[in-house]
């Protein structure tokens, strides 16, 4: 292999990690939510809100704007060094924003027993609309992008990359080997039996929904802080891909991880094809951009061809409204 090929492959892998990590984070959060029997289709909306708030927090922490109120006539945009603490603050605000949006979903579906699919779709529309309007209000048309050049890295990768990888065994262990996980799975498998055993089904589900929202918020923050700058609809459907990933992984964290990295690699190679074939016409590149979505459809078809695979793994009460017997 020539040195060019090697460096090309390394670049490809690095890009794949960048694309796979948000997918993995969002999918792991949603995995826990679905294991508790809730179908939250608002992942895309929560990611967008998380992305926006993470970005705003980073923006505010990075630049101290006008001090005019304190000292008249003194106005200066001071560039601050962006420290690890600031980065963690931005991540926290993204997670909280995602969880708050998820709380709306939890209140409506668990408190008021509304249809999961309808509220989830509404949440996605709300997240997109809210992030667009707040984003354009906050940043205006022209703004200088946040330079999170020195976001904290460990072993050459961003902290969140390692966090997402560690969360895979953690969530597996939590769900399969602890009492908490057993309760979550029981609530998701059969909410009537779990209720009869004395578990507060809506409350357990609500906590899971909050966790899912926080993870989706982190996923959004990763996109804007590490990968690309904020713009409208910056997640380009990654929230929906995360939902597809859970089906692909048949509700198992390890398979979700594998799926996320396969998606990341494919997406990265699609982006690299531009560089490989510079002579290609623009119109063909447009068609090529659809390949992640077409690939998702193909994968879904392959996975769901075997109905037993889905039926054996899907939580029994997934997406059903819980009406406690009274």
């Amino acid at each position: 292999m020539t040195p060019e090929t090697v460096s090309f492959l390394i670049n490809l892998l690095a890009a794949a990690v960048l694309l796979a990590t948000p997918l993995l984070l969002a999918a792991l959060g949603e995995l826990v939510v679905e294991k508790s029997g809730v179908l939250n289709l608002g992942v895309e909306g929560m990611m967008l809100i998380g992305a926006l708030f993470g970005y705003i927090a980073a923006y505010n922490l990075q630049t101290i704007t006008c001090l005019e109120e304190l000292i008249p006539g003194f106005c200066q945009k001071e560039e601050r060094v962006f420290t690890t603490g600031d980065y963690l603050m931005a991540l926290c605000s993204a997670a909280i924003a995602g969880a708050l949006l998820a709380a709306v979903f939890g209140f409506l579906t668990q408190g008021l027993r509304a249809n999961h699919v309808a509220v989830g779709l509404g949440l996605s529309i709300l997240g997109a609309g809210l992030s667009n309007s707040l984003g354009s209000n906050f940043f205006g048309v022209n703004y200088t992008s946040v330079q999170v050049a020195d976001h904290p890295e460990m072993f050459g990768q961003d902290l969140l990359v390692w966090f997402s990888l560690i969360m895979v065994p953690v969530i597996w262990y939590l769900l399969q080997r602890t009492r908490t996980g057993l309760v979550i799975r029981a609530v998701g498998e059969n909410h009537d039996s779990a209720f009869a055993l004395g578990y507060n089904v809506p409350r357990i589900r609500f906590y899971c929904i909050l966790f899912g929202g926080a993870m989706a918020g982190l996923a959004g923050a990763f996109i804007v802080l590490v990968h690309v700058d904020w713009k409208e609809g910056v997640t380009v459907g990654k929230g929906w891909l995360a939902l597809a990933l859970i089906l692909f992984g048949t509700w198992r964290p390890m398979r979700v991880l594998i799926g996320a990295y396969i998606f990341g690699l494919l997406w990265a190679s699609e982006l690299r094809l531009d560089n490989l074939f510079p002579n290609w016409q623009l119109e063909w590149k447009t068609i090529l951009t659809t390949s992640p979505y077409i690939f998702t459809i193909l994968v879904l078809v392959l996975i769901s061809r075997n109905p037993r695979l889905i039926h054996q793994n899907a939580p029994g009460s997934l997406g059903k409204i819980f009406n406690p017997p009274s």
Binding site: G129, S136, N137, V301, R305
Partner: protein
Amino acid sequence: MLYLEPRRETTVWTSVRSIMLALVITTVISVLVMLAMSDRPADAIWQLLTFPWQGRRMEVQLGLVAQQAAYLATIAIGLSVGFRANVWNIGAEGQFALGSVGAYAGYLLLGSPESLWALPLILIAGMIGGCLWAMIPAVLRIKFNTNELLTSLMLVYVASHILTYLCIGPWKGDPKAGQAETYPLAKSVRPTDLISGTELHYGLIILLVAFLILAGFLLFTLLGYRLRVAQHTPRAERFAGFSPNNTIWLSFIVSGAMAGLAGAVYMTAETGKLIQAENYLENFGFAAIVIAFLGRLHPVGILLAALMISYINVGASYIQASLGVDDSIADLIEVVALFAFLGTAMLDQYRVRRSVARPRPVIQP
């Protein structure tokens, strides 16, 4: 603590009451949002509610409302067929786009006609386009048991790229235009205006007729009745000899055709040509999902919801121009209304009771 107690009987009155409550909640939250977003909230609310009587001619403003409501209601009633039967086609945006593409393809296939008689054929071509695009998730669902919700949504992204591809590739029009677009349709093929100076045209009449036909079918025929009760009694539906697969086919055909028709009318009447996706698609397909749920999946409700949301949308763009209030407030009101309606729907079947000690099962040792 509060808990929900099932109602012994549900009447129309309980539904009306919960709808009124939802409207009140929507109003209160909208006013709060307006207070946060505007410097002169009282003016903003007043102008939002009475914009047709302010400034420009009334029929122009109301024409804008009717125009938007026609597209939204047409797509939403198609979607409601599937939503009632738990068939989740959320890709109406893509079917709308492919409806436009189908209509333009029909126009080209007819050899760029200049007579108004070609218009029905062009619209039918659009319906077929939307229908075929909706067939993809339907076939995948029936043959491979694939989740139709995710596939139909993924196809929206594909459809918008197909639209852009056609505009910069095979059907590329005037290269001097600021955006990628095709050559426009002959003026004589496009639906003419009903009242000059307004946005009203014959295409909207076609949409209204399509809406009424489907509404009549849902309300007054046996098949429509079966589709409407499918949500509550999937088992009874099966005993009545109507297979779930037929429901899926029918849902996707109807919703795809309606979205395709809306796309075809939009292409022929509003733009007169195809434009690259970012400048062409106005999220009618996604807003229609909200409309369908706001109307509680009932034809009459959908029509009222479409009118209400369009009124707020047009009003919001009016106050953006006059008072500088960001028109995204319309989107917020729309989603607040959706959540209020979904959240109060359970009051149809339950009443909220206060309990001293909440009934809670106890595990016996």
